[in-house]
């Protein structure tokens, strides 16, 4: 009965990829929603230590970030000692007060200035010397609310 039947019909039918865009879009939207663009480009290594008694940092108050750790790949000429990073560049301990003042000036609503929290993102291999120096400068700048940023996990594994 199949006078007109072509030879091709014996080949495997192509997989229908019509729904592929839908799947990909679904993934795309997921990542678009959860994405937070990095605020600063890290010039240092920044692997946070673990702890389990953590509190969420409240976004409704202004937050400033201070990073410390040893220089990342590409900046080896700066040595292996932990360094401080403010905004997008390496900084010295003395720059912290100016940094806090500029962060305070950037807060739009004046009543929130006193609630400025400083989040310390320090590499777990850094030593306490630099952290102590940072804390001393923060006390001088009267920025007393701090938060040691940590990953979630058991502190005994550090």
């Amino acid at each position: 009965m199949s006078k007109f039947k072509s030879k091709k019909d014996n080949a495997l039918p192509a997989v229908n990829t019509a729904s592929l865009p839908d799947i990909v879009f679904m993934l795309l939207f997921f990542f678009m929603v959860v994405t937070v663009m990095r605020e600063d480009t890290l010039l240092i290594e920044n692997r946070l230590p673990l702890a389990d008694q953590v509190e969420k940092l409240e976004k409704k108050y202004p937050i400033s970030y201070i990073y410390a750790g040893k220089p990342a790949k590409g900046y080896e000429n700066l040595g292996t000692e932990a360094r401080l990073q403010l905004n997008d560049k390496f900084a010295d301990i003395e720059d912290i007060q100016a940094f806090i003042n500029s962060e305070r000036a950037a807060i739009a609503r004046e009543e929130l200035v006193d609630f400025l929290t400083v989040s310390l993102k320090v590499d777990k291999e850094a030593n306490m010397g630099i952290v102590g120096d940072i804390k001393k400068e923060l006390r001088k700048a009267n920025a007393l609310k701090i938060n040691y940023s940590v990953g979630t996990g058991s502190a005994l594994d550090n």
Binding site: V54, L144, K145, S149
Partner: protein, 207 residues
């Protein structure tokens, strides 16, 4: 003439475009993990600060040396034992507080040679410049955990009487901050403040 259907738009490259965007977002995504241990730094001391005399037995000294070893009350200790030791010290209740009240909620041994009252008990943390940050955070975490554990136990006790049963202290605080919590927030705040007053966090860092 036969009706011609409108030609279909070729959607074959849609997937490619979507993939391109997807890969861009995949690469730039950093799942934010903004959580940590909150601390309050002491203000710079005013020049004429009167020396406050604190009894030695009310101070729990923790020293982390440059090799990340722990020295607690002049004895070497493993990190995993620190929490228990701190709880025993804080909850000892061997004496009276500043007003002369005994600690009626303490469950400790009431050892006369350890702390008098949670209100008086102070944990003093000292580290050296060579101490690693990871060790310091671990110790901080264990000490915060000691306070949280004590407060949790207390919260389960008084929470049941005040209508917040099966809620430990950490959960109470979380609920208090949660806008969706449908309970009496003022009452909850009173309970939280009471527990905070009963076990005040007195963690002092030696500079």
């Amino acid at each position: 003439m036969a009706k011609r259907a409108a030609p279909e738009v070729n959607a074959g490259s849609m997937a490619d475009i979507a993939f391109l965007l997807l890969i861009f977002f995949l690469v730039t995504t950093t799942i934010p993990k903004d959580s940590g241990i909150n601390r309050k730094l002491p203000p710079m001391e005013p020049p004429n600060d009167d020396e406050v005399v604190i009894k030695q037995k009310n101070i729990f000294t923790v020293l982390i040396n440059g090799k990340d070893q722990l020295l607690v009350e002049d004895e070497l200790m493993e990190l995993k034992d620190l929490r228990k030791a701190a709880i025993e010290f804080l909850d000892n209740g061997g004496g009276t507080d500043a007003q002369g009240n005994r600690c009626d909620y303490c469950k400790g041994k009431r050892d006369a040679s350890s702390s008098d009252h949670p209100d008086k008990a102070i944990i003093s943390l000292k580290n050296e410049r060579e101490t690693s940050y990871a060790a310091y955070i671990s110790v901080q975490n264990e000490l915060v955990a000691a306070y949280n554990d004590l407060r949790n136990i207390r919260a389960l006790e008084i929470g049941a009487r005040k209508g917040f049963s099966d809620m430990d202290f950490v959960l109470m605080e979380k609920n208090y901050k949660d806008a969706k919590f449908n309970g009496n927030k003022e009452k909850l705040k009173a309970v939280i403040d009471q527990i905070r007053a009963e076990y005040p966090e007195k963690l002092s860092e030696v500079q």
